[in-house]
């Protein structure tokens, strides 16, 4: 089985967020594999372990994503591809990313593509379904279970808390929701092996794409932090009194009840 994983290097949003001039300050911040993409990497490895085949992890971005690609290789992926757009594209959006990935994948005959359902930094959740559509492939988003039998796939999809059991066929693109699996930690032998696994680096030229072909359709004009919240009010006295007071405050002061 020919399996691809779409992976994004993200800022760990458990970090404190500060702005410098216009942008999110990245100095000293921790970067990780987008947690939802980590489920996708794990699932891809499990599918390969059951069905055979090869797992290739793709990332779009800068040279720095090599660290996260090596981590995916250490988890057990077979190959990695970095499409380095750092020099070519200043302001891409989801249209840009999806178009580049689809261009790369169009002659690779993937049986299964996996990605996270959303990245915790940008949070748009667009790239997976966009890539599937550009490849003419069926997709299922926010999955919590994947069973493959030959070319048939049974998928459980999380729909705002309810679960849909969906039957479909390969080739298929799926995006991972929490609960799909428990991603493994890279083992020491895994980390050693990962250093020798193939990691290809491509640029837009290698895909016969020009910057204009993938020019963003949207533009960010400002990034700002939410206003600081004023300190809240801790109630005092007997619990019965506090409960009465709170209900009155919510009713009369906050007016939410």
């Amino acid at each position: 089985m020919n399996i691809y994983v779409l992976m994004k290097r993200t800022f760990d949003t458990e970090e404190k967020i500060t702005l410098s001039a216009c942008c999110i300050n990245e100095d000293g911040a921790e970067f990780i594999i987008n947690p939802y993409d980590e489920y996708a990497v794990e699932e891809a490895i499990q599918v390969r372990e059951a069905q055979g085949g090869e797992v290739t992890v793709i990332s779009i971005g800068s040279q720095e994503a090599v660290t996260q690609l090596r981590t995916a290789l250490a988890m057990g992926a077979d190959k990695a591809v970095l499409i380095n757009i750092e020099d070519a594209i200043e302001n891409g959006d989801q249209y840009t990313t999806a178009k580049i990935i689809a261009e790369y994948l169009k002659d690779k005959s993937p049986d299964l593509i996996l990605g996270g359902n959303v990245a915790i930094d940008g949070g748009s959740g667009q790239v997976g379904p966009r890539v599937a559509e550009l490849l003419g492939m069926n997709y299922v988003t926010t999955i919590t279970k994947l069973d493959i039998d030959g070319t048939r796939a049974t998928v459980v999809r999380d729909v705002e808390g309810d679960s849909e059991v969906i039957e479909t066929n390969l080739p298929l693109l799926v995006t991972a929701q929490q609960g799909l699996n428990e991603p493994r930690y890279p083992s020491l032998p895994g980390i050693m092996k990962a250093k020798k696994k193939p990691l290809a680096e491509l640029e837009l030229d290698d895909l016969n794409l020009e910057e204009d072909d993938v020019e963003a359709k949207t533009k960010t004009i400002e990034i700002f932090l939410p206003p600081k919240k004023e300190a809240g009010r801790i109630l005092e006295g007997e619990l019965e009194q506090q409960a009465k007071e709170l209900v009155q405050l919510l009713h009369n002061e906050a007016k939410v009840i």
Binding site: Q94, Y95, E133, E167, K217, L239, K244, A254
Partner: protein, 325 residues
């Protein structure tokens, strides 16, 4: 410059979802005096057309087909592409719901268009429509605009106020015949897990439990409080990891991001992971035994105490308030 804007009216269990009324209000803003067209897609949805018009649409276009009884991306895309071809809109607004998140990127790719997801505010500035949306799990926001082509956006539930309903308003409701075929996914079964019937992402009130809830049974007082307030029950990752509740209830960086009017955090310490999912709620109440718990730093009101004592007292007080009102 006035625009023609299409809104998908999303239907759940026979009724239009609130987020669709919010989407109509959003579309009105994007249209800048232009036309707002409501689209309804399903097996038998005609009866809801007037409601779309009462809530802001100038007219409605309906696609009905047996293959649209359940949502599939293929079926809905075929229906909406036909509507888009017939209406030829300048803009499209969906709710940022499970359906909107699944369908909008597919349509955007097909239409070679940009898409701004998860929008929480829309304004006009210098002739441009500017969309505000959270990034980094709500720890920052960005303001964005479409530079080329369709103005396509999905809006987060509970953030853009719907328009006043006007039942005297009328408008044209037309049907479009579309052959919906070749669906590649078949939905075999839907397992309902959402307990109260109020969806977390749209709930006006959320009562959430953390590790302090201590067990599955420990959620019962929270469910009672949520029921009195017509709200939904949520949970922190800690409570889900400890198996006190289903992961579908999880609020946080992984899990759901919610912005209710009132968020009552019970026995939740307030890990950054959790705050990422709820800190933009309008009013936050924290109930925790530990006066130093981080959750008090984001709370508007706090009660230091045992949730098993405090929550039933609150339920009682809210009941009294309702009886008196």
């Amino acid at each position: 410059m006035s625009k023609k804007v299409l809104v998908l009216g999303e239907i759940r269990e026979g009724s239009l979802r609130n987020v669709s009324f919010e989407a109509l209000a959003a579309a009105k803003r994007v249209a800048q005096g232009g036309e707002v067209v409501g689209a309804l897609v399903g097996q038998s949805v005609h009866a809801l057309g007037n409601e779309l018009i009462h809530c802001g649409a100038d007219r409605a276009v309906i696609v009905e087909h047996t293959n649209l009884a359940q949502y599939t991306s293929d079926g809905y895309a075929q229906a909406l592409l036909a509507v888009i071809q017939a209406v030829n809109p300048d803009g499209i607004i969906f709710g940022h719901t499970a359906l909107g998140k699944d369908l909008a990127p597919k349509l955007a790719a097909r239409l070679d268009s940009g898409l701004i997801s998860d929008v929480t505010a829309i304004e006009e500035a210098g002739g441009n429509i500017i969309f505000t949306r959270p990034i980094y799990s709500g720890k920052a926001f960005e303001r964005k605009l479409i530079t080329e082509g369709l103005t396509f956006a999905t809006i987060r539930p509970n953030n853009i106020a719907p328009l006043e309903k006007d039942e005297s308003k009328s408008g044209n409701i037309s049907s479009l015949q579309v052959d919906i075929k070749d669906l590649r996914s078949i939905i075999k079964e839907v397992v309902k897990k959402a307990s109260t019937g109020v969806d977390l992402s749209e709930a006006k009130v959320i009562v959430a439990g953390g590790r302090g809830v201590k067990s599955k049974e420990g959620f019962e007082p929270l469910q009672e409080l949520a029921a009195v307030l017509g709200g939904a029950v949520g949970a922190s990752r800690g409570a889900c990891d400890a198996n006190y509740c289903d992961y579908s209830l999880q609020i946080g960086q992984t899990g759901k991001v919610v912005t209710p009017d009132l968020y009552i955090a019970c026995g939740i310490s307030g890990a950054i992971q959790h705050l990422a999912g709820m800190s933009n709620s309008k009013v936050i109440v924290a109930i925790n035994k530990d006066p130093d718990a981080n959750i008090f730093n984001v709370a508007d009101y706090g009660i230091v105490g045992d949730l098993f004592e405090v929550v039933p007292l609150l339920t009682e007080e809210f009941r009294k308030l309702q009886i008196n009102a």
